[in-house]
């Protein structure tokens, strides 16, 4: 209450300040809406193609056998605990949105060290049995991804070897729907 009182503007200022704050709020909601902001809380693979930069990754995954058992987050986000998961998502996501907004994304997207460790961890999470069977578990270096990752040999799993932005121009990916509400569209059509 005290804080609210602190920020209350003097009487003659009240109307413009409220107006401006309302505009700020409204525009904020609009931005969250067109950016599909809340979808980022979910694990749906379609979330990763909210911006079209990841279309090749989505399309190549969609044509791999991993699509039946693992979606983007199963590999690219730590699954150790819910806190770690969302911490990683927030950190990574903010980085991505920054890169995307300022058009800093490269033509060929390559995974960085922290992401690679995460993926390696998730390979092991599901394929632990397999790794121990082929006796790789004893080889500390490989098991912990120091120096060697699973995909150093399994190059095409699951995205194939071609991953640039222009490599899947006609890949079928679900596109984002229009943010214009249906009733407005109808109104526009009738005119």
């Amino acid at each position: 209450m005290k804080l609210l009182r602190y920020f209350t503007p003097p009487d003659p200022w009240k109307i413009p300040v409220f107006g401006l704050l309302a505009a700020l709020l409204g525009l904020g909601i609009y931005t969250l809406n067109i950016a599909n902001a809340f979808s980022y809380l979910s694990d749906e693979p379609e979330v990763c193609i909210n911006c079209h930069v990841m279309n090749p990754q989505y399309a190549t995954w969609q044509h791999s056998s991993h699509r039946e058992v693992a979606s983007c987050n199963d590999c690219h986000v730590p699954q150790t605990s819910v806190f770690e998961k969302y911490w990683f998502k927030a950190k990574d996501g903010l980085g991505h949105s920054y890169m995307f907004t300022f058009r800093l994304e490269p033509q060929v997207i390559q995974i960085k060290s922290e992401g690679a460790q995460t993926v390696q961890g998730n390979c092991e999470r599901c394929h632990e049995q397999l790794i121990s069977e082929v006796n790789l578990a004893d080889n500390e270096e490989i098991f912990h991804g120091d120096g060697k990752y699973c995909w150093d040999c399994h190059v095409e799993t699951p995205h194939g070897s071609v991953r640039s932005l222009s490599s899947t121009p006609q890949a079928q990916v679900p596109n984002l729907g229009s943010p214009v509400p249906q009733w407005l569209k109808k109104l526009q059509e009738s005119e």
Binding site: R5, Y6, F7, T8, P9, P10, W13, P16, V17, L20, L21, A23, L24, L27, G28, Y30, T31, I34, A35, C51, H52, N55, P56, A59, T60, Q62, H63, S64, S65, R67, E68, F100, T101, G160, V162, S164, S166, S167, T168, P169, Q170, A171, Q172, P174, N175, L176, P179
Partner: protein, 524 residues
């Protein structure tokens, strides 16, 4: 001291705050518009050169926008692959399996039956087959217009123009100049979004009758369902929904196993033909590819038709779906080895290993069925009555249906080997049952000697035995192809010249080359 007091004392602080907020709102607005701008980009990534019209039937028009898909589609022209049992070339199945002539005696399939070529030949081959007859000089084709349904993207165009039931009604030759472009783009794709789309009413109606909504299907399911528009078992229902119209219907109301479909046909007393020799009321299986595939391990694991028959392909660093729809055995690297990391040799071996075993048993059933038909014919000749033969005929009907369910779709022996072996097994049991019944009918009639079986071991001998006059049929067909079909093509060319022409398309191939391509397609 509150902010209020500060602002009252020093109004410039208030103004600074105000202007800062204005700045923030402005930046937020700019941020929103960059998001909108980048959203729009995704629709420009794949910017088409021309606007394709609704239900555009000419595949080469789609090819202007999607050259890679079109080029690979055109490769369905190739006829150079032969696997152990099938392939992309035409195979005279009656020559390969003379037993079929006897099994289909009294039905047009006993005259002419080939293993199909690629989609590119769909229209050409339906004109060529003896089964559609030689409709000339007022003589009708024995087939209705319903037979065109799966052959061309001209079908949805025409259906939209005149209506579904109207499309199906009438004789086959009536739509000869309308159905020109072979199976292609508009059969499976929406022209605006390129999303997969069901264009044939029979599949939608079959789903509705089972209480399923096909519009709820996921993209991955659609990659199977667009194939299920045609690669299925079907029949022509002349009672429903419109009396006298051979309405294309899928018999799936009870389910899609051999037994469930058989029960459906028994309940409505349907038969495709009465067997010429045994007089059994036969159900001819068309090509229950979807039905048999859904009984397979690949289907259970979520693999779609397109995953193996249209795998991803990369060309010059660009990846796209290979539209050369063909046997995965001709492209094991892209089809099978995406999931199965064994060598090509091992994969091929295990495919043939399954097929060999299934086809061995299917062949046994085939042999037994031939004997059953001939023995039943002998029983009729010995004076058997309808009453005596009733059970026998029902058995023959069921056994032959099971054989055809296993055989007709060509791929079933690989797709669902376990299920197909089961179906063939029950077929063998029922057919042997029928033979024993024939034996006791003959005993009742006082005939106890061995039943004489005529020599029908080759296509020629078998066709001679059932009285198929191949040279006459072929001569009629040739005359039809030489006189009637060119007229159809002329009419079609005139009709299509009124459709939008796209010679001006940006970066399109030179006009002359495109024309040449179209012309060579029409002259085929």
């Amino acid at each position: 001291m509150s902010l209020k007091d500060t602002v009252e004392k020093k109004p410039w602080v208030g103004w600074v705050l105000f202007l800062l907020t204005v700045g923030v709102v402005y930046l937020l607005g700019v941020f929103s518009s960059t998001i909108v701008e980048r959203r729009t980009e995704s629709s420009l990534v794949n910017k088409p050169k021309i606007k394709i019209n609704n239900l555009e039937p000419r595949n080469e028009v789609w090819g202007i926008n999607y050259p890679r898909e079109y080029e690979t589609y055109m490769e369905t022209k190739s006829m150079d692959f032969r696997s152990k049992y099938n392939g992309s070339a035409m195979i005279d199945m009656l020559d390969e399996y003379p037993a079929l002539v006897i099994l289909w005696a009294g039905y047009k399939f006993s005259q002419d039956y080939n293993q199909a070529r690629g989609h590119y030949y769909a229209v050409e081959d339906i004109r060529n087959t003896l089964r559609t007859g030689a409709p000339m000089n007022g003589k009708h084709s024995p087939m209705p217009n319903t037979c065109w349904t799966c052959k061309s993207p001209d079908v949805p165009r025409k259906m939209k123009e005149i209506g579904i039931a109207e499309f199906y009604s009438g004789h086959w030759e009536e739509r000869g100049s309308d159905i020109i472009n072979p199976i292609g783009c508009a059969d499976c794709h929406d022209e605006n979004t390129m999303k997969l789309k069901i264009t044939r009413p029979a599949l939608i109606e079959a789903f509705e009758r089972q209480g399923k909504d096909i519009t709820k299907a996921t993209h991955q399911e659609m990659r199977t369902l667009v194939c299920a528009q045609c690669h299925v078992e079907y029949y022509f229902n002349s009672d429903k929904p419109k009396k006298g119209v051979p309405y294309l219907t899928f018999p799936w109301d009870n389910g899609t196993t051999a037994e469930e479909i058989e029960e459906y046909f028994d309940d409505i007393n349907f038969k495709d033909y009465t067997h010429q020799l045994s007089k059994a009321p036969i159900i001819k299986a068309q090509h229950p590819g979807y039905e048999t595939y859904t009984k397979s391990i690949h289907y259970q694991r979520g693999v779609s038709c397109a995953d193996c028959h249209m795998p991803y392909k990369s060309e010059g660093g660009v990846k796209f779906t290979d539209h050369k729809i063909q046997s995965p055995l001709n492209n094991i690297a892209n089809s099978c080895q995406v999931c199965h990391r064994e060598s090509e040799e091992d994969i091929l071996k295990s495919v043939y290993n399954n097929m060999d075993r299934v086809l061995h048993n299917r062949g046994k059933l085939e042999e037994i069925l031939v004997k059953t038909h001939l023995e039943a014919e002998f029983a009729w000749k010995q004076g058997a009555t309808e009453e005596q033969m009733k059970d026998v005929l029902l058995d023959i009907r069921h056994a032959q249906w099971r054989w055809d369910y296993a055989a007709a779709a060509h791929g079933a022996a690989f797709h669902a080997p376990v299920e197909i072996l089961r179906v063939v097994g029950t077929g063998i049991e029922i057919a042997q049952e029928a033979r024993m019944k024939i034996r006791s009918v003959l005993t009742e009639l006082g005939y106890t000697k061995e039943i004489p079986i005529p020599d029908v071991s080759t296509k020629e001998k078998a066709q001679k035995y059932i009285g198929v006059d191949l040279p006459k049929l072929r001569a009629e067909k040739k005359l039809f192809l030489d006189t009637v079909v060119p007229k159809w093509l002329d009419e079609a060319e005139k009709r299509e010249s009124k459709m939008p022409q796209y010679d001006q398309a940006v970066n399109a191939e030179p006009k002359s080359k495109e024309k040449e391509q179209t012309a060579s397609m029409l002259n085929k």
